[in-house]
């Protein structure tokens, strides 16, 4: 008997894109470009940033990060996805929390939305330098714990961390607001030049502060005499 399906021998199913497919496709393209930018940044900056975070290297790295993401269109969710990619993906050759934080900061600062929310509670790695140079008019909300140098050099924006931060939180901050709902480590507000830091939990130690205000559990602890001296961190 003849094969009754002969008319269909060459049929190859072309899967019809549903709106979700389009979204996934476009997200994949965006993510690939974000990753590419990050890898480029790593190639250029890794040597200087691997061992030590120095302010001039951070400035240079940030400038490179801005260059890498130039022209890239992305949403706050893409930044969040990138954070998780950093944490788990084997697509990234190496994860260095410093450059990663700089790069994420550049993404947040150049994101079209005024408010960026990053839900990072489930992330294993605590990323450094989040909120770097957050400009005025920008609000960055991070759910989860972060690493060192959170809110470093904030330039008028509002950084809220629903969780804990490590050392040097708000270092070099110029103006704006840094709110950390749980605890922070040593050298909080190191070389801070303005703005305010509000910590809902405990501050392990303050840094060498130039100007600005620091609150611990609603209590103003800088500038005024408290249980910490500016240099006891």
């Amino acid at each position: 008997m003849r094969n009754p399906f002969e008319e269909f021998k060459d049929f190859e199913r072309r899967r019809r894109d549903i709106p979700l497919d389009q979204i996934v496709k476009s997200k994949n393209v965006t993510m690939a470009r974000i990753m590419e930018g990050y890898e480029k940044l790593l190639e250029e900056e890794v040597k200087e940033l691997v061992w030590l975070v120095q302010y001039n290297t951070v400035i240079k790295a940030y400038a490179n990060a801005e260059k890498s993401i130039k022209g890239l269109e992305f949403k706050p969710e893409d930044i969040e996805d990138f954070c998780y990619e950093l944490d788990s993906s084997d697509r990234i050759p190496y994860m260095i929390t410093g450059p990663a934080g700089i790069y994420i900061a550049a993404l947040c600062n150049h994101c079209e939305e005024d408010e960026v929310v990053l839900k990072l509670e489930d992330i294993k790695t605590q990323i450094n330098l989040l909120g770097y140079r957050l400009p005025a008019g920008k609000r960055l909300l991070i759910e989860g714990n972060v690493g060192d140098f959170a809110g470093i050099g904030v330039e008028g924006g509002e950084l809220i961390i629903e969780g804990s931060a490590k050392n040097y939180a708000g270092a070099g901050m110029r103006s704006g607001k840094l709110v950390i709902t749980k605890n922070v480590g040593h050298h909080t507000g190191e070389w801070m030049m303005g703005g305010e830091i509000r910590v809902g939990g405990r501050i392990r130690g303050l840094g060498n502060i130039m100007d600005g205000k620091i609150y611990e559990r609603e209590q103003l602890i800088y500038p005024k005499d408290g249980r910490y001296s500016p240099r006891n961190g």
């Binding site: 399906f5 269909f8 021998k9 049929f11 190859e12 899967r15």
Partner: protein
């Protein structure tokens, strides 16, 4: 030049013409009918063109050698439309068609329909058949077929189906013929058309009331059939048809008279009709049109819904559908009978000729979608519960056609959702039958299980 879908060129035939040539000629015939002979509203739109269903399907029936059942109220042009179409497509004066028509009535006899013994010769002990004009000419019209009693309908079954007419020990076979039968709505003088007879009709159309304004126009043109009359040629036709010569010899003489009528009509109204050779060529172009994979898959899906039964292996009119069956959402649950093998033949031939008429290169889902309701309407026997549920719906079509159109719409919606998967299942079916070790594609529609049956992989 690709004349037909199989790449056969028609070089060497005197009537070979480029693409669209014959379609234009046929469309001219359609327009002539529409403007001069059969006045009615266009009630169908296909690919941006508007047509009158009855006229369009009538024309396609005549060209495609189909069999059409025309239903409607008395006096709305069922028979006359068939007469006009038959006359123009086959170049036969309408008077000859009138004389060959079979009138359905309870006393109708085989002798009047098919043929009778030559009584003069019978007296001399010689058996010779005098064939009726109905059995001889290619345009066959049975007027009011449902007035024939059920027992007498079977007399014309074979002739209707295959074109072979037998009487005594003689037989003639019509190589080229079409059939139109009309049926009034049920009254005290009508009978049911027997299922084997109804299944032989490719399509069912309704000749509808044209509305008061067009109807008024019809009344003004009471003598319009005179356009297609030619008493002298009608006598010539009769003389040839009555001649005692072999049937195949007679056909060539019929064609000669027919061509004279065509020439007459061209000089009279400027309309060029089709010769027998041109009709044959058109049909070869039509039959060469391939189906798109969508048209083919959708037709298979339709056939699956109309023939499938999960519990009994297939639909059988003597077995009842089991309540609570998983497949109760499909039309197999709403019908009593099973689709016959004539159904796909009707779908195929009418979709092809429609696609040809519209000058399309292949039969697509649009053509199939238009044709299927008209091929289904008279063939489906719906369950009483379904009829009761649907009978109060507002509609423009006769009930059976309304149900068929609704069914096709519903099946098309299903196809839109899962057409690609069905085609993939059919494609995988091909590869499995070709020896590849693959898993058949599964799905919820009956067509998937039917594919698995063909692969001998039906789940237990």
């Amino acid at each position: 030049m690709k004349v037909n879908g199989k790449g056969e060129s028609n070089k060497g035939t005197s009537v070979s013409q480029g693409d669209g040539f014959y379609q234009k000629r046929v469309k001219e015939i359609y327009r002539f009918l529409e403007e001069n002979l059969y006045f009615n509203r266009p009630d169908m739109e296909i690919k941006g063109e508007r047509f009158n269903t009855s006229l369009l399907f009538g024309l396609l029936t005549a060209l495609g050698r189909g069999k059409e059942l025309i239903i409607g109220e008395p006096g709305v042009g069922k028979t006359t439309s068939a007469e006009f179409i038959g006359s123009l497509v086959y170049q036969i004066p309408v008077g000859v068609i009138w004389s060959s028509e079979v009138s359905g009535h309870p006393e109708q006899t085989e002798e009047k329909i098919i043929g009778r013994p030559d009584l003069g010769k019978l007296n001399k002990g010689i058996e010779e058949v005098v064939w009726s004009h109905f059995s001889q000419i290619p345009v066959k019209i049975v007027d009011e077929i449902n007035r024939l009693p059920e027992t007498k309908q079977s007399m014309i079954l074979d002739g209707v189906d295959r074109g072979n007419w037998e009487y005594l020990n003689e037989m003639i076979i019509n190589e080229e013929y079409c059939l139109f039968a009309t049926a009034n709505y049920q009254d005290q003088g009508t009978n049911t058309i027997i299922p084997p007879m109804i299944d032989r009709f490719d399509i069912l159309v309704e000749s509808r009331h044209p509305g008061p304004n067009v109807s008024y126009l019809v009344a003004e043109c009471w003598d319009k059939e005179n356009i297609l009359r030619h008493p002298e040629l009608e006598r010539d036709f009769e003389e040839v048809l009555n001649r005692k010569i072999p049937y195949h010899t007679k056909l060539s003489e019929v064609e000669a008279v027919s061509n004279r009528f065509g020439e007459f009509l061209e000089s009279r109204v400027g309309l060029k009709l089709l010769s027998q050779e041109e009709r044959r060529l058109i049909l070869s172009q039509v039959r060469g049109l391939d189906f798109s994979t969508d048209a083919s898959a959708f037709t298979r899906m339709t056939l699956a819904e109309l023939s499938f039964c999960y519990y009994h292996g297939q639909k059988r009119s003597v077995e009842n559908c089991v309540e609570g069956c998983h497949y109760s959402g499909y039309f197999c649950h709403e019908i009593k009978n099973c689709a016959s093998n004539r159904l796909p033949m009707s779908i195929r031939s009418y979709s092809q000729i429609l696609a040809w008429f519209l000058e399309d290169r292949e039969v697509g889902i649009e053509h199939v979608k238009v044709v299927i309701p008209y091929t289904l309407a008279h063939r489906i026997r719906w369950r009483d519960e379904y009829l009761a549920r649907m009978e109060k719906s507002r509609r423009n079509d006769p009930f059976m056609l309304f149900l068929a159109k609704g069914a096709v719409k519903e099946m098309l919606r299903r196809y839109d959702e899962q057409g690609d998967r069905i085609k993939e299942a059919l494609g995988v079916g091909f590869r499995i039958l070709n020896g590849e070790e693959l898993e058949p594609i599964e799905g919820d529609h009956p067509v998937y299980l039917e594919i698995m049956k063909d692969l001998s992989m039906e789940p237990s």
